[in-house]
Symmetry: C2
Subunit: 220 residues, 2 copies
Amino acid sequence: MRKVFQAELHQIGEGLVEISALVGVAIEKSTAAFASVDLQGAEEVIAADARIDFLQNDLDERAIDVLALQGPVASDLRMIVGALRMSASLERMGDLARHISQLTRLRFPNPVVPQSLTDTFAELARLDILIAAKVAELLDSRDLELVTDILAAKGAINKIHKTVFSAMAAPDWAETAATTVDVTLASRYFERFGDHGVSVARKVSYLVTGEWQPEDFLAG
Amino acid sequence: MRKVFQAELHQIGEGLVEISALVGVAIEKSTAAFASVDLQGAEEVIAADARIDFLQNDLDERAIDVLALQGPVASDLRMIVGALRMSASLERMGDLARHISQLTRLRFPNPVVPQSLTDTFAELARLDILIAAKVAELLDSRDLELVTDILAAKGAINKIHKTVFSAMAAPDWAETAATTVDVTLASRYFERFGDHGVSVARKVSYLVTGEWQPEDFLAG
């Protein structure tokens, strides 16, 4: 019984790793399509998101079955409930990668952001891709040093996110209102993606150490 | 044992009703402060959000304890896992009410949205308040007719949300970029608030009927 249970727990862990890998692919393709104004790439990200949603539902069903059939206690139980939370965050990251591609599709053949912000969004993309990769690695290895990297990347995103808003508020911002709307949404999508990555990292950290990382862990 | 368990399940249900009531107060006060440019009111909403976060954590801990100590099966188990999901949605609604008040505070003593959109945002506020009230009632009564009202209100929000974006893309939109950014964020916060309300409604509906409402239930 215990052996079956351990195998099922392991499968749930594997499921999270699998979803996080797909999220990594999604954000890489989505930000590449965003940067290169690639309609085909954007469409692929949008279509592929259904697979992430399916895997999340599937993982959640399996987790609930394990809860029902095995009646796990203490740390195993927290791990399963944590998996339900993490799968929700990963699913949301997939949604945000899709939202970025939907902006690319909406504005095609024009780029979503003006040239003055191309480098800024390339840096946001690099950081989101890094967060997705580190989250996938963290779910696989449970190496908590990765949490520090993820928090540092999110700190950098927060700073850039603010500079984007400052750029739009500056007197020399001469873009149309439609572009301002798009930049606002895009910057928020990139920022939220990283934020959900941080949620997953904090949850893994909690499950490994038993100590909750305070929100202001990010302040530094 | 069974009696204790039923009492604990009932308490979890009561906890959700309590949180949803606070979310209702938060969105009412937040949208009132937003409309009347009331810094004091906005500060109160921002300060009060910590209570919602606390109650969510508390409810989650109790739900996990019930899972650990009682090892519930089948429908009870789904109800508890559903409660964990609903508490997350309610907590997020509280965050969004807070975000709206943070915009009010940021722009004080100026209003966040231009006069041309005052009525539009008043209508979004009315619909969000309605959704919060119906969600609280639904959690208490499980009367699924309320789900229909919630979905209808969200459908109305979606339409208005689109008209806000159309207004900003129109040639006669003469607001500053900073205002365009604020309107974009505000409209999204109002829309997301309603969306999380729909998530709770769909979850209650699922727990009562055992049938998942498809996403496109909203299409009508």
